[in-house]
């Protein structure tokens, strides 16, 4: 099966693949941070009693969650330059570059998914905690940042990390706009050298090792968090 399997091509392309991996990891980390921040805001909006806040947030989250990531990437690739031209009033304004476009697309897409996780996390905090915080004289902001969110996030860490592992896998889809992430780098070398079998299997192996150890880490973390519960 592996007769004629050329390991040399993998070894020679390692530096280039590493560049791609840095792109993938950077995109994942930044989109994760941005997604969690915006997701938290969206979750607080959805839970707000002001319909002016909760309806738009709900509509955004449900809409984004019902369309494919690739379509979201296409949407932002089209919308960002239009918006920049509108905002600056300059019809020749240059874009913000492919990396930042991808970053915004992933952040806004993942924010919708993080929002639902965070909303469930906030709702898992006993109602009495909120009442107690208000009874002690804390304001909404203080109750949220000092009482509710810390407890909510503690419950959510495992599932937030699991979602981020899926996000890491999803970053490979920047392929559709021609960016060179890890998969993009592997694909370019595969086509240049005609070594599709080696490069794609190697890419699969690398993704597997990273994602499998990631989920294993989450599993041990979960076991540790569950000590002393129930």
């Amino acid at each position: 099966m592996f007769t004629g399997f050329d390991f040399d091509v993998i070894q020679k392309s390692l530096p280039y693949l590493w560049q791609g991996m840095q792109f993938s990891l950077g995109l994942t980390l930044l989109a994760m941070l941005g997604g969690i921040v915006i997701g938290t805001l969206l979750a607080l909006m959805r839970l707000s009693s002001f319909k002016l806040l909760s309806y738009p947030a709900g509509a955004y989250v449900n809409l984004v969650r019902s369309i494919p990531l690739i379509l979201v990437i296409f949407w932002f690739y089209f919308l960002i330059p239009v918006l920049i031209k509108k905002l600056t009033g300059n019809p020749y304004a240059s874009g913000i570059g492919p990396f930042y476009s991808a970053l915004i697309a992933f952040t806004m897409f993942e924010a919708a998914y993080y929002c639902e996780i965070i909303r469930a996390g906030i709702q898992s905090v006993p109602r009495g905690q909120v009442s107690a915080a208000y009874a002690l004289g804390l304001t909404y902001r203080q109750a949220t940042t000092l009482v509710i969110l810390p407890q909510a996030f503690r419950n959510m860490i495992p599932i937030l990390l699991t979602t981020s592992i899926i996000l890491f896998q999803d970053t490979s889809l920047v392929y559709v706009v021609g960016l060179t992430d890890f998969m993009g780098a592997a694909g370019k070398i595969a086509r240049r050298d005609g070594r599709l079998v080696e490069m794609y299997l190697f890419a699969a192996l690398v993704y597997f090792i990273i994602c499998y150890s990631g989920s294993y880490f989450v599993k041990t973390l979960q076991a540790r968090y569950n000590v002393g519960r129930n």
Partner: protein, 242 residues
């Protein structure tokens, strides 16, 4: 917004651009539904095997699930399309490369099916494991064999419990069907991009595609909620509590 371009003659194919949208929708639905048939049957089998009391059934199923869950769908798509024909025996590989009907479409269905099967397996497993242990013990004590226990006691309840997460998985395969565009299946997202390139009506055509995806998602969600109420076991926790 001006949607009149949908009625203009298309660049190729003889019809209007609306025909491209409909054809894209057809391929999206075909890939999703055929893929789902594979995912549901293979996934159910794997999920049951993962709860089996003997290791030689459990371990292969676990390896399958971990392998397919931890490699990105795009990579799996390329492996089905580019790598599999090269590493199978030569006669099979030649058939895959030259004789296989609609190679892009078939590979996309296989890839999505076997990828989603790993996710379905996890739902089936968690459904079975959510049943109280006493159910299995009672069934075995009454003289049912293990397959009978699964068939008449565990699975009828487990499948009802997992209707909501199963709905999510179906919607996942439906949305993931857009990844098929990377190997050249002209499904809805691919057609939307193609139309935007020919007509420059990017905003409008993306809106059309978004509305179609959202409508199908809504329809599926509501019909599954109906099914969930219909199959609900009286007295059992769950159902469509908001």
């Amino acid at each position: 917004m001006d949607f009149s371009f949908l009625n203009q003659p298309a660049f190729s194919g003889g019809g209007v651009y609306l025909d491209w949208v409909i054809s894209g929708l057809k391929w999206t639905l075909l890939v999703s539904i055929l893929g789902w048939i594979i995912a549901f049957s293979v996934g159910s089998l794997l999920g049951i095997l993962r709860t089996a009391p003997v290791a030689w059934l459990r371990v292969p199923a676990t390896i399958y699930v971990e392998l397919f869950r931890n490699v990105p769908l795009l990579v799996q798509m390329f492996i089905w399309y580019f790598v599999v024909p090269e590493i199978v025996p030569k006669a099979v590989g030649d058939w895959l490369k030259t004789q296989m009907p609609m190679p892009e479409f078939s590979n996309a269905v296989l890839c999505l099916g076997f990828y989603t099967a790993s996710r379905v397996a996890e739902q089936v497993r968690s459904g079975i494991q959510s049943m109280p242990r006493g159910q299995t013990s009672a069934a075995l004590a009454m003289g049912l064999t293990l397959p009978q226990t699964y068939r008449h006691v565990l699975l009828p309840m487990a499948y009802r419990i997992v209707i909501p997460p199963m709905t999510t998985e179906f919607l996942t395969i439906f949305k993931n069907s857009s990844v098929a565009l990377t190997i050249g299946v002209l499904e809805l997202t691919a057609q939307a991009r193609q139309i935007s390139e020919y007509t420059f009506r990017t905003f409008e055509i993306f809106t059309v595609a978004t509305i179609i995806y959202a409508l199908i998602t809504l329809t599926v969600t509501f019909s599954m909620r109906w099914l969930e109420n219909k199959t609900r076991v009286p007295g059992y926790v769950g159902g469509s509590s908001k």
